[in-house]
Symmetry: C3
Subunit: 166 residues, 3 copies
Protein backbone atom coordinates (compact mmCIF):
# COMPACT_ATOMS: atom_id res chain seq x y z
CA UNK A 1 0.00 0.00 0.00
CA UNK A 2 1.27 3.45 -0.94
CA UNK A 3 2.09 6.11 1.62
CA UNK A 4 3.36 9.65 1.12
CA UNK A 5 5.33 11.72 3.62
CA UNK A 6 5.02 15.51 3.65
CA UNK A 7 7.57 17.48 5.65
CA UNK A 8 6.20 20.84 6.77
CA UNK A 9 9.04 23.24 7.48
CA UNK A 10 9.97 26.69 6.29
CA UNK A 11 13.68 26.14 6.84
CA UNK A 12 13.77 22.76 5.07
CA UNK A 13 11.72 24.21 2.21
CA UNK A 14 14.18 27.09 1.86
CA UNK A 15 17.13 24.72 1.96
CA UNK A 16 18.49 26.15 5.25
CA UNK A 17 18.15 22.85 6.99
CA UNK A 18 18.34 19.24 5.88
CA UNK A 19 15.10 17.32 6.38
CA UNK A 20 15.75 14.41 8.68
CA UNK A 21 12.23 13.70 9.93
CA UNK A 22 10.68 12.98 6.54
CA UNK A 23 13.21 10.27 5.61
CA UNK A 24 13.05 8.70 9.08
CA UNK A 25 9.26 8.52 8.95
CA UNK A 26 9.51 6.96 5.48
CA UNK A 27 11.95 4.31 6.73
CA UNK A 28 9.58 3.36 9.54
CA UNK A 29 6.63 3.17 7.15
CA UNK A 30 8.59 0.88 4.79
CA UNK A 31 9.42 -1.39 7.71
CA UNK A 32 5.69 -1.59 8.35
CA UNK A 33 5.09 -2.72 4.76
CA UNK A 34 4.16 0.53 3.04
CA UNK A 35 5.58 1.66 -0.30
CA UNK A 36 6.85 5.22 0.12
CA UNK A 37 7.94 6.60 -3.22
CA UNK A 38 7.62 10.27 -2.46
CA UNK A 39 8.79 12.66 0.25
CA UNK A 40 7.63 16.21 -0.20
CA UNK A 41 8.65 19.40 1.57
CA UNK A 42 6.27 22.33 1.93
CA UNK A 43 6.56 25.60 3.87
CA UNK A 44 4.50 26.40 7.01
CA UNK A 45 1.64 27.87 5.00
CA UNK A 46 -1.85 26.65 5.74
CA UNK A 47 -3.17 26.83 2.20
CA UNK A 48 -0.14 25.15 0.68
CA UNK A 49 -0.18 22.36 3.26
CA UNK A 50 -3.88 21.77 2.69
CA UNK A 51 -3.45 21.75 -1.10
CA UNK A 52 -0.58 19.28 -0.88
CA UNK A 53 -2.47 16.92 1.45
CA UNK A 54 -5.48 17.03 -0.86
CA UNK A 55 -3.40 16.32 -3.96
CA UNK A 56 -1.41 13.49 -2.41
CA UNK A 57 -4.57 11.92 -1.00
CA UNK A 58 -5.46 11.19 -4.62
CA UNK A 59 -2.26 9.14 -5.00
CA UNK A 60 -1.97 7.25 -1.73
CA UNK A 61 -4.15 5.73 0.96
CA UNK A 62 -1.93 7.15 3.72
CA UNK A 63 -0.50 10.67 3.97
CA UNK A 64 1.76 11.37 6.95
CA UNK A 65 2.83 14.95 7.67
CA UNK A 66 5.77 15.79 9.93
CA UNK A 67 6.21 19.25 11.44
CA UNK A 68 4.07 22.27 12.18
CA UNK A 69 2.11 20.63 15.01
CA UNK A 70 3.50 22.76 17.82
CA UNK A 71 2.51 26.02 19.36
CA UNK A 72 4.86 28.46 17.62
CA UNK A 73 3.05 31.08 15.58
CA UNK A 74 3.90 29.49 12.24
CA UNK A 75 2.66 26.02 13.27
CA UNK A 76 -0.49 25.50 11.23
CA UNK A 77 -0.39 21.87 10.09
CA UNK A 78 -3.33 20.81 12.31
CA UNK A 79 -5.47 23.65 10.94
CA UNK A 80 -4.61 22.67 7.36
CA UNK A 81 -5.41 19.04 8.14
CA UNK A 82 -8.78 19.86 9.71
CA UNK A 83 -9.59 21.94 6.65
CA UNK A 84 -9.09 18.93 4.35
CA UNK A 85 -10.52 16.07 6.42
CA UNK A 86 -14.09 14.81 6.22
CA UNK A 87 -13.85 13.37 9.70
CA UNK A 88 -11.40 13.81 12.57
CA UNK A 89 -10.09 10.88 14.62
CA UNK A 90 -9.62 12.50 18.03
CA UNK A 91 -8.31 9.29 19.55
CA UNK A 92 -5.17 9.26 17.38
CA UNK A 93 -3.77 12.55 18.66
CA UNK A 94 -4.86 11.70 22.20
CA UNK A 95 -3.05 8.36 21.97
CA UNK A 96 0.15 9.95 20.59
CA UNK A 97 0.19 12.48 23.43
CA UNK A 98 -0.50 9.88 26.11
CA UNK A 99 2.18 7.54 24.78
CA UNK A 100 4.52 10.48 24.32
CA UNK A 101 4.40 11.19 28.06
CA UNK A 102 6.59 8.12 28.52
CA UNK A 103 9.31 10.04 26.68
CA UNK A 104 8.76 13.71 27.54
CA UNK A 105 6.58 15.74 29.91
CA UNK A 106 5.98 18.11 26.98
CA UNK A 107 4.07 15.53 24.93
CA UNK A 108 0.70 17.22 25.66
CA UNK A 109 1.89 20.25 23.67
CA UNK A 110 1.55 18.47 20.34
CA UNK A 111 -1.53 19.56 18.44
CA UNK A 112 -1.20 16.71 15.92
CA UNK A 113 -4.53 15.56 14.48
CA UNK A 114 -5.53 12.67 12.25
CA UNK A 115 -8.52 12.27 10.02
CA UNK A 116 -9.97 10.81 6.87
CA UNK A 117 -10.41 12.37 3.45
CA UNK A 118 -12.48 9.92 1.42
CA UNK A 119 -10.71 6.58 1.85
CA UNK A 120 -7.35 8.19 2.60
CA UNK A 121 -6.03 8.49 6.12
CA UNK A 122 -4.14 11.69 7.07
CA UNK A 123 -1.86 11.54 10.11
CA UNK A 124 0.10 14.47 11.61
CA UNK A 125 3.24 13.74 13.60
CA UNK A 126 5.56 16.33 15.20
CA UNK A 127 8.61 17.75 13.48
CA UNK A 128 11.48 16.42 15.57
CA UNK A 129 12.81 13.14 14.14
CA UNK A 130 12.54 11.42 17.50
CA UNK A 131 9.01 12.60 18.29
CA UNK A 132 7.94 11.97 14.69
CA UNK A 133 8.95 8.31 14.74
CA UNK A 134 7.68 7.75 18.30
CA UNK A 135 4.29 9.28 17.44
CA UNK A 136 4.04 7.22 14.26
CA UNK A 137 4.84 4.03 16.14
CA UNK A 138 2.19 4.83 18.76
CA UNK A 139 -0.52 4.75 16.11
CA UNK A 140 0.83 2.29 13.52
CA UNK A 141 -1.53 -0.55 14.56
CA UNK A 142 -4.41 1.93 14.46
CA UNK A 143 -3.34 3.12 10.99
CA UNK A 144 -3.31 -0.39 9.59
CA UNK A 145 -6.68 -1.18 11.10
CA UNK A 146 -8.15 2.11 9.91
CA UNK A 147 -6.97 1.55 6.33
CA UNK A 148 -8.59 -1.89 6.31
CA UNK A 149 -11.87 -0.39 7.56
CA UNK A 150 -11.73 2.43 5.02
CA UNK A 151 -11.36 -0.25 2.30
CA UNK A 152 -14.65 -1.73 3.51
CA UNK A 153 -12.88 -4.69 5.12
CA UNK A 154 -15.03 -4.74 8.22
CA UNK A 155 -13.91 -8.29 8.97
CA UNK A 156 -10.75 -6.74 10.37
CA UNK A 157 -12.70 -4.89 13.00
CA UNK A 158 -12.08 -5.99 16.54
CA UNK A 159 -13.43 -7.12 18.86
CA UNK A 160 -16.43 -8.21 16.82
CA UNK A 161 -17.31 -4.92 15.25
CA UNK A 162 -15.07 -2.29 16.78
CA UNK A 163 -15.80 -0.10 13.79
CA UNK A 164 -19.25 0.45 15.12
CA UNK A 165 -20.75 -1.10 11.97
CA UNK A 166 -23.06 -4.05 12.09
Amino acid sequence: MNAIVITVSDSCFQGHRVDRSGPEVAVRLRQAGFTVDRNLIVPDDRERIAAEIREQAGRARLVVTTGGTGIALRDVTPEATRQVCDRILDGFGEHMRREGLKDTAFAPMSRAVSGTFGTTLIVNVPGSPRAAVASLEAVLPLIQHALALLSGDTEHSEPGRASGKK
Copy 2:
Protein backbone atom coordinates in the same frame (compact mmCIF):
# COMPACT_ATOMS: atom_id res chain seq x y z
CA MET B 1 -35.43 9.01 34.99
CA ASN B 2 -36.19 8.21 31.34
CA ALA B 3 -33.53 7.13 28.88
CA ILE B 4 -33.84 6.25 25.22
CA VAL B 5 -31.51 4.02 23.21
CA ILE B 6 -31.00 4.61 19.50
CA THR B 7 -29.26 1.90 17.50
CA VAL B 8 -27.55 3.31 14.42
CA SER B 9 -27.08 0.59 11.81
CA ASP B 10 -28.01 0.17 8.18
CA SER B 11 -28.18 -3.59 8.42
CA CYS B 12 -30.32 -3.63 11.58
CA PHE B 13 -32.58 -0.99 10.07
CA GLN B 14 -33.03 -3.10 6.92
CA GLY B 15 -33.74 -6.19 8.98
CA HIS B 16 -30.60 -8.02 7.79
CA ARG B 17 -29.22 -8.28 11.25
CA VAL B 18 -30.70 -8.55 14.73
CA ASP B 19 -29.88 -5.59 16.97
CA ARG B 20 -28.06 -6.90 20.03
CA SER B 21 -26.33 -3.73 21.20
CA GLY B 22 -29.45 -1.65 21.72
CA PRO B 23 -31.11 -4.18 24.06
CA GLU B 24 -27.87 -4.78 25.99
CA VAL B 25 -27.34 -1.06 26.51
CA ALA B 26 -30.96 -0.79 27.70
CA VAL B 27 -30.48 -3.62 30.20
CA ARG B 28 -27.43 -1.88 31.64
CA LEU B 29 -29.26 1.42 31.89
CA ARG B 30 -32.17 -0.24 33.74
CA GLN B 31 -29.69 -1.77 36.19
CA ALA B 32 -28.45 1.77 36.81
CA GLY B 33 -31.98 2.92 37.64
CA PHE B 34 -33.15 4.41 34.35
CA THR B 35 -36.53 3.71 32.79
CA VAL B 36 -35.95 2.68 29.17
CA ASP B 37 -39.22 2.30 27.37
CA ARG B 38 -38.02 2.78 23.85
CA ASN B 39 -35.30 1.33 21.63
CA LEU B 40 -35.12 2.81 18.17
CA ILE B 41 -33.20 1.75 15.08
CA VAL B 42 -32.12 4.25 12.44
CA PRO B 43 -29.88 3.88 9.36
CA ASP B 44 -26.39 5.37 9.10
CA ASP B 45 -27.67 8.66 7.72
CA ARG B 46 -26.48 11.84 9.34
CA GLU B 47 -29.68 13.81 8.95
CA ARG B 48 -31.89 10.98 10.16
CA ILE B 49 -29.68 10.33 13.17
CA ALA B 50 -29.66 14.02 14.07
CA ALA B 51 -33.44 14.29 13.68
CA GLU B 52 -34.01 11.24 15.87
CA ILE B 53 -31.68 12.47 18.62
CA ARG B 54 -33.38 15.85 18.58
CA GLU B 55 -36.87 14.32 18.76
CA GLN B 56 -36.02 11.87 21.54
CA ALA B 57 -34.28 14.59 23.54
CA GLY B 58 -37.75 16.07 23.98
CA ARG B 59 -38.92 12.84 25.67
CA ALA B 60 -35.98 11.83 27.85
CA ARG B 61 -33.12 13.33 29.81
CA LEU B 62 -30.65 10.76 28.46
CA VAL B 63 -30.25 9.59 24.86
CA VAL B 64 -27.66 6.88 24.23
CA THR B 65 -26.76 5.97 20.66
CA THR B 66 -24.96 2.74 19.76
CA GLY B 67 -23.17 2.31 16.43
CA GLY B 68 -21.72 4.51 13.73
CA THR B 69 -18.80 5.77 15.83
CA GLY B 70 -16.05 4.07 13.85
CA ILE B 71 -13.98 5.02 10.86
CA ALA B 72 -15.84 3.23 8.03
CA LEU B 73 -17.22 5.57 5.42
CA ARG B 74 -20.82 5.23 6.61
CA ASP B 75 -19.97 5.99 10.25
CA VAL B 76 -21.48 9.42 10.89
CA THR B 77 -23.04 9.24 14.35
CA PRO B 78 -20.47 11.63 15.91
CA GLU B 79 -21.10 14.20 13.19
CA ALA B 80 -24.87 13.94 13.71
CA THR B 81 -24.38 14.28 17.46
CA ARG B 82 -22.17 17.36 17.14
CA GLN B 83 -24.76 18.89 14.85
CA VAL B 84 -27.45 18.58 17.56
CA CYS B 85 -25.50 19.36 20.73
CA ASP B 86 -25.20 22.81 22.30
CA ARG B 87 -22.01 21.82 24.05
CA ILE B 88 -19.58 18.92 23.65
CA LEU B 89 -18.14 17.03 26.63
CA ASP B 90 -14.70 16.07 25.30
CA GLY B 91 -13.81 14.25 28.50
CA PHE B 92 -16.49 11.57 28.03
CA GLY B 93 -15.10 10.22 24.72
CA GLU B 94 -11.55 10.56 26.03
CA HIS B 95 -12.46 8.58 29.12
CA MET B 96 -14.19 5.80 27.12
CA ARG B 97 -11.15 5.45 24.88
CA ARG B 98 -8.70 5.43 27.78
CA GLU B 99 -10.73 2.86 29.70
CA GLY B 100 -11.26 0.88 26.50
CA LEU B 101 -7.50 0.36 26.18
CA LYS B 102 -7.76 -2.09 29.06
CA ASP B 103 -9.81 -4.28 26.72
CA THR B 104 -8.46 -3.60 23.22
CA ALA B 105 -5.56 -1.74 21.64
CA PHE B 106 -8.04 -0.42 19.08
CA ALA B 107 -10.02 1.63 21.62
CA PRO B 108 -8.52 4.92 20.35
CA MET B 109 -10.34 4.38 17.05
CA SER B 110 -13.72 5.17 18.53
CA ARG B 111 -14.94 8.63 17.58
CA ALA B 112 -17.77 8.55 20.12
CA VAL B 113 -18.73 11.97 21.44
CA SER B 114 -21.06 13.15 24.18
CA GLY B 115 -22.75 16.46 24.64
CA THR B 116 -25.74 18.34 25.93
CA PHE B 117 -28.83 19.54 24.10
CA GLY B 118 -30.72 21.73 26.54
CA THR B 119 -30.99 19.67 29.71
CA THR B 120 -30.67 16.36 27.85
CA LEU B 121 -27.43 14.43 27.76
CA ILE B 122 -26.49 12.66 24.51
CA VAL B 123 -23.92 9.86 24.73
CA ASN B 124 -22.48 7.89 21.79
CA VAL B 125 -21.16 4.39 22.39
CA PRO B 126 -19.71 2.02 19.76
CA GLY B 127 -21.75 -0.54 17.87
CA SER B 128 -20.38 -3.83 19.10
CA PRO B 129 -22.37 -5.13 22.08
CA ARG B 130 -19.23 -5.64 24.14
CA ALA B 131 -17.71 -2.22 23.40
CA ALA B 132 -21.11 -0.55 23.78
CA VAL B 133 -21.65 -1.85 27.31
CA ALA B 134 -18.02 -1.30 28.35
CA SER B 135 -18.09 2.30 27.09
CA LEU B 136 -21.38 2.97 28.83
CA GLU B 137 -20.04 1.56 32.09
CA ALA B 138 -16.94 3.76 31.82
CA VAL B 139 -19.06 6.89 31.90
CA LEU B 140 -22.10 5.85 33.95
CA PRO B 141 -21.00 7.75 37.09
CA LEU B 142 -20.32 10.80 34.92
CA ILE B 143 -23.74 10.48 33.30
CA GLN B 144 -25.53 10.43 36.64
CA HIS B 145 -23.54 13.40 37.90
CA ALA B 146 -24.09 15.31 34.66
CA LEU B 147 -27.85 14.79 34.77
CA ALA B 148 -27.96 16.11 38.33
CA LEU B 149 -26.00 19.20 37.28
CA LEU B 150 -28.19 19.76 34.23
CA SER B 151 -31.19 19.70 36.58
CA GLY B 152 -29.62 22.58 38.47
CA ASP B 153 -28.67 20.33 41.38
CA THR B 154 -25.27 21.88 41.94
CA GLU B 155 -25.14 20.38 45.42
CA HIS B 156 -24.11 17.14 43.73
CA SER B 157 -20.98 18.73 42.37
CA GLU B 158 -17.76 17.35 43.75
CA PRO B 159 -15.39 18.16 45.26
CA GLY B 160 -16.91 21.41 46.38
CA ARG B 161 -17.93 22.85 43.07
CA ALA B 162 -16.50 20.54 40.40
CA SER B 163 -19.16 21.90 38.05
CA GLY B 164 -17.29 25.13 37.89
CA LYS B 165 -20.28 27.00 39.30
CA LYS B 166 -20.10 28.99 42.48
Copy 3:
Protein backbone atom coordinates in the same frame (compact mmCIF):
# COMPACT_ATOMS: atom_id res chain seq x y z
CA MET C 1 6.03 37.93 33.00
CA ASN C 2 2.51 39.26 33.51
CA ALA C 3 -0.49 37.03 34.07
CA ILE C 4 -4.12 37.94 34.62
CA VAL C 5 -6.74 35.85 36.40
CA ILE C 6 -10.40 36.09 35.41
CA THR C 7 -12.97 34.53 37.74
CA VAL C 8 -16.12 33.55 35.86
CA SER C 9 -19.04 33.35 38.27
CA ASP C 10 -22.48 34.89 38.43
CA SER C 11 -22.64 34.70 42.20
CA CYS C 12 -19.19 36.21 42.75
CA PHE C 13 -19.95 38.93 40.22
CA GLN C 14 -23.18 39.77 42.05
CA GLY C 15 -21.39 39.80 45.38
CA HIS C 16 -23.33 36.81 46.75
CA ARG C 17 -20.22 34.78 47.20
CA VAL C 18 -16.59 35.59 47.95
CA ASP C 19 -14.21 34.61 45.16
CA ARG C 20 -11.69 32.16 46.57
CA SER C 21 -10.50 30.51 43.36
CA GLY C 22 -9.19 33.64 41.66
CA PRO C 23 -6.91 34.62 44.56
CA GLU C 24 -5.66 31.04 45.01
CA VAL C 25 -4.82 30.74 41.33
CA ALA C 26 -2.99 34.08 41.55
CA VAL C 27 -0.94 32.91 44.52
CA ARG C 28 0.13 29.78 42.65
CA LEU C 29 1.06 31.83 39.58
CA ARG C 30 3.19 34.18 41.68
CA GLN C 31 4.98 31.18 43.20
CA ALA C 32 5.78 30.15 39.62
CA GLY C 33 7.32 33.55 38.92
CA PHE C 34 4.49 35.42 37.26
CA THR C 35 3.46 38.96 38.13
CA VAL C 36 -0.28 38.97 38.75
CA ASP C 37 -1.52 42.50 39.25
CA ARG C 38 -5.12 42.01 38.32
CA ASN C 39 -7.95 39.65 39.30
CA LEU C 40 -11.17 40.23 37.47
CA ILE C 41 -14.64 38.83 38.05
CA VAL C 42 -17.13 38.47 35.20
CA PRO C 43 -20.57 36.82 35.07
CA ASP C 44 -21.29 33.57 33.20
CA ASP C 45 -22.04 35.36 29.95
CA ARG C 46 -20.32 34.15 26.82
CA GLU C 47 -19.90 37.52 25.16
CA ARG C 48 -18.63 39.23 28.29
CA ILE C 49 -16.17 36.44 29.01
CA ALA C 50 -14.88 36.57 25.44
CA ALA C 51 -14.55 40.36 25.51
CA GLU C 52 -12.66 40.25 28.81
CA ILE C 53 -10.25 37.56 27.61
CA ARG C 54 -9.61 39.52 24.43
CA GLU C 55 -8.97 42.77 26.30
CA GLN C 56 -6.69 41.23 28.93
CA ALA C 57 -4.74 39.37 26.24
CA GLY C 58 -3.52 42.80 25.17
CA ARG C 59 -2.02 43.36 28.63
CA ALA C 60 -0.55 40.00 29.57
CA ARG C 61 1.04 36.97 27.97
CA LEU C 62 -0.99 34.59 30.14
CA VAL C 63 -4.71 34.78 30.91
CA VAL C 64 -6.10 32.14 33.28
CA THR C 65 -9.86 31.83 33.74
CA THR C 66 -11.42 29.97 36.66
CA GLY C 67 -15.04 28.78 36.59
CA GLY C 68 -17.69 28.06 34.01
CA THR C 69 -16.01 24.92 32.67
CA GLY C 70 -18.62 22.46 33.89
CA ILE C 71 -21.81 21.08 32.45
CA ALA C 72 -24.43 23.27 34.14
CA LEU C 73 -26.49 25.30 31.69
CA ARG C 74 -24.74 28.58 32.52
CA ASP C 75 -21.23 27.14 32.05
CA VAL C 76 -19.96 28.76 28.85
CA THR C 77 -16.32 29.63 29.53
CA PRO C 78 -14.97 27.02 27.06
CA GLU C 79 -17.23 28.36 24.31
CA ALA C 80 -16.08 31.93 25.01
CA THR C 81 -12.46 30.77 24.96
CA ARG C 82 -12.82 28.91 21.67
CA GLN C 83 -14.42 32.02 20.19
CA VAL C 84 -11.34 34.12 21.03
CA CYS C 85 -8.49 31.69 20.36
CA ASP C 86 -6.63 31.40 17.07
CA ARG C 87 -5.61 27.86 17.90
CA ILE C 88 -6.75 25.32 20.48
CA LEU C 89 -4.31 23.20 22.50
CA ASP C 90 -6.31 20.00 22.97
CA GLY C 91 -3.54 18.39 24.98
CA PHE C 92 -3.83 20.87 27.86
CA GLY C 93 -7.44 20.01 28.73
CA GLU C 94 -6.75 16.32 28.16
CA HIS C 95 -3.79 16.48 30.52
CA MET C 96 -5.76 18.33 33.25
CA ARG C 97 -8.53 15.74 33.09
CA ARG C 98 -6.13 12.78 33.13
CA GLU C 99 -4.17 14.20 36.07
CA GLY C 100 -7.42 15.16 37.78
CA LEU C 101 -8.46 11.50 37.86
CA LYS C 102 -5.88 11.02 40.60
CA ASP C 103 -8.05 13.29 42.75
CA THR C 104 -11.64 12.68 41.64
CA ALA C 105 -13.49 10.26 39.35
CA PHE C 106 -15.40 13.29 38.05
CA ALA C 107 -12.35 14.91 36.45
CA PRO C 108 -13.48 13.95 32.91
CA MET C 109 -16.46 16.29 33.33
CA SER C 110 -14.31 19.40 33.02
CA ARG C 111 -14.66 21.04 29.64
CA ALA C 112 -11.67 23.35 30.25
CA VAL C 113 -9.82 24.32 27.06
CA SER C 114 -6.61 26.20 26.39
CA GLY C 115 -5.48 28.04 23.33
CA THR C 116 -3.49 30.88 21.89
CA PHE C 117 -4.60 34.35 20.85
CA GLY C 118 -1.64 35.93 19.10
CA THR C 119 1.28 35.43 21.46
CA THR C 120 -0.96 35.19 24.54
CA LEU C 121 -1.84 31.87 26.11
CA ILE C 122 -5.39 31.40 27.45
CA VAL C 123 -5.94 28.62 30.00
CA ASN C 124 -9.29 27.60 31.53
CA VAL C 125 -9.32 25.89 34.91
CA PRO C 126 -12.43 24.76 36.85
CA GLY C 127 -14.19 26.91 39.42
CA SER C 128 -13.61 25.05 42.66
CA PRO C 129 -10.47 26.35 44.43
CA ARG C 130 -9.06 22.85 44.81
CA ALA C 131 -9.69 21.78 41.19
CA ALA C 132 -8.53 25.19 39.92
CA VAL C 133 -5.12 24.95 41.61
CA ALA C 134 -4.69 21.24 40.79
CA SER C 135 -5.50 21.85 37.12
CA LEU C 136 -3.15 24.81 36.95
CA GLU C 137 -0.35 22.77 38.51
CA ALA C 138 -0.91 19.95 36.01
CA VAL C 139 -0.12 22.27 33.12
CA LEU C 140 2.32 24.79 34.65
CA PRO C 141 5.40 23.29 32.95
CA LEU C 142 3.50 23.27 29.66
CA ILE C 143 2.48 26.91 30.17
CA GLN C 144 6.05 28.03 30.72
CA HIS C 145 7.28 26.09 27.70
CA ALA C 146 4.42 27.38 25.56
CA LEU C 147 5.11 31.00 26.47
CA ALA C 148 8.77 30.57 25.49
CA LEU C 149 7.74 29.10 22.13
CA LEU C 150 5.22 31.85 21.51
CA SER C 151 8.05 34.34 22.10
CA GLY C 152 9.94 32.69 19.27
CA ASP C 153 12.36 31.03 21.67
CA THR C 154 12.52 27.74 19.83
CA GLU C 155 15.72 26.83 21.66
CA HIS C 156 13.50 25.90 24.57
CA SER C 157 11.79 23.23 22.54
CA GLU C 158 12.42 19.70 23.66
CA PRO C 159 13.57 17.18 22.77
CA GLY C 160 15.28 18.73 19.80
CA ARG C 161 12.34 20.40 18.14
CA ALA C 162 9.27 19.34 20.08
CA SER C 163 7.59 22.47 18.79
CA GLY C 164 7.43 20.91 15.37
CA LYS C 165 9.54 23.75 13.94
CA LYS C 166 12.85 23.17 12.28
